[in-house]
Subunit: 179 residues, 3 copies
């Protein structure tokens, strides 16, 4: 997985940040500046009560202009099936990657499908992802592997996005702007 391949996609924005950095809220704000309807593609799977609560909180915050699509694995298909003129929010790449790795799916093929789906769109597409590589090396090999794959995927999407935002404490830092 190289950080080249696609042309820079002028409709694509990556919102990157840590846990509780305000990524989703900021990304929703970008999308809802455009006229409704908006498509929210959720990659979360409600494995447990903690996750169910997080999903409910996010869902309650969104108003009626949103259509929500659940796509824990079939993210590329969900992007292709969204109306071509509707702004799309993908929340988030981190849970999608986690679902792929836990299910032992082919990451290179999944990333290729994601690239193709993103490249076909014309309307605003905002992708949320976590930065996870700024702590101490994790003890266990799966966490190290996840951290590596997340970093590679973030680099890849960042290379193809026209706009990249890094969130710190709810504040956006623009780290790429080719719009």
């Amino acid at each position: 997985m190289e950080t080249v391949g696609l042309e820079t996609l002028s409709h694509l924005t990556l919102v990157l940040g840590g846990a509780r950095s305000g990524k989703s809220r900021f990304a929703e704000g970008l999308v809802t500046e455009r006229p409704a309807p908006w498509v929210y593609i959720a990659t979360a799977e409600a494995w447990d009560e903690e996750m169910r609560e997080r999903i409910a909180v996010h869902r309650d915050r969104r108003d009626g202009g949103w259509t929500t699509v659940d796509a824990p694995l079939a993210l590329p298909d969900a992007i292709r099936e969204a109306p071509g003129d509707a702004p799309v929010l993908v929340d988030c790449l981190t849970l999608w990657l986690s679902n792929l790795m836990l299910g032992d799916h082919d990451l290179a093929a999944a990333t290729q499908h994601l690239d193709e789906a993103l490249a076909r769109r014309k309307a605003m597409t905002v992708v949320v992802s976590n930065e996870v590589g700024l702590g101490i090396v994790p003890d266990n090999a799966l966490a190290r592997s996840f951290r590596d794959e997340q970093g590679r995927l973030n680099q890849h999407i960042a290379a193809n996005a026209a706009s990249v935002i890094f969130m710190v404490a709810g504040l956006p830092m623009t780290i790429k702007d080719e719009t």
Copy 2:
């Protein structure tokens, strides 16, 4: 705990950063640009030798213009009791939050008291806090919960501060400046 509520406080600065990023040193420099006396509100509790040493190192670095107040839990009271015209340094929100959570205190109430104490001040108030959300999701639930609460608190204070600085390797990045 929403990121709204207070007006932006023109006297409030948040200095955010990772471990050993130079947060305290930079925050001290901001305060000591103003005339003494200065108030240092310390939230650290010396639970063990490691912590005692860290506190001593920080204390030794500060000169005679400082009055030190220990407030591991009663941070809002300490802020209210500081002389109204003296610059105040709060070091740091992360240990305060940790003390609150370990003692099973009401975080919403404590944050409300903090907001009120900060809003009453007029003179420079510099608050130091840790960014802790940029690593891999922690294994244990308490650490995950702490990470979430710290992120929410940082967003909340950042929304209310006129100035927010993100420290990396001892270097300040200004991520909000409404002074």
Copy 3:
């Protein structure tokens, strides 16, 4: 170890970032803008298969203009022995520090030797290092200690470098520029 001592070194650049943030690739790009030959000082030790693979991937990416020197501990000597007019890339301080700590070496003395070696050079010298302090406090004392020492070393090198770059998702943020 204070963040003072050396004059700012106009030939010194620090490239800082998380895991898989594109540090090495960006640093290589800085060096190869200058005419070959270039010197690559590698501090990695191939303890296991995972590490051997990472080293091989990095090595394969570099072309014939590079001379590679392995210096898991003797980094200051390797810097002194590099041709004075050849650009040098040190990749990376994090593994060097880790090797020093695992071998129970004197960090203050090692840092002093590093300072002296860096100060003697005139040609471009790019040093790669990891930011590791932006996650939750690690459980074990060695990891906490490593995190502290890495933060101190990064501050120290950043104070002496004319240029400091913070990488996020393959994108460079300039956080110091005194070139």
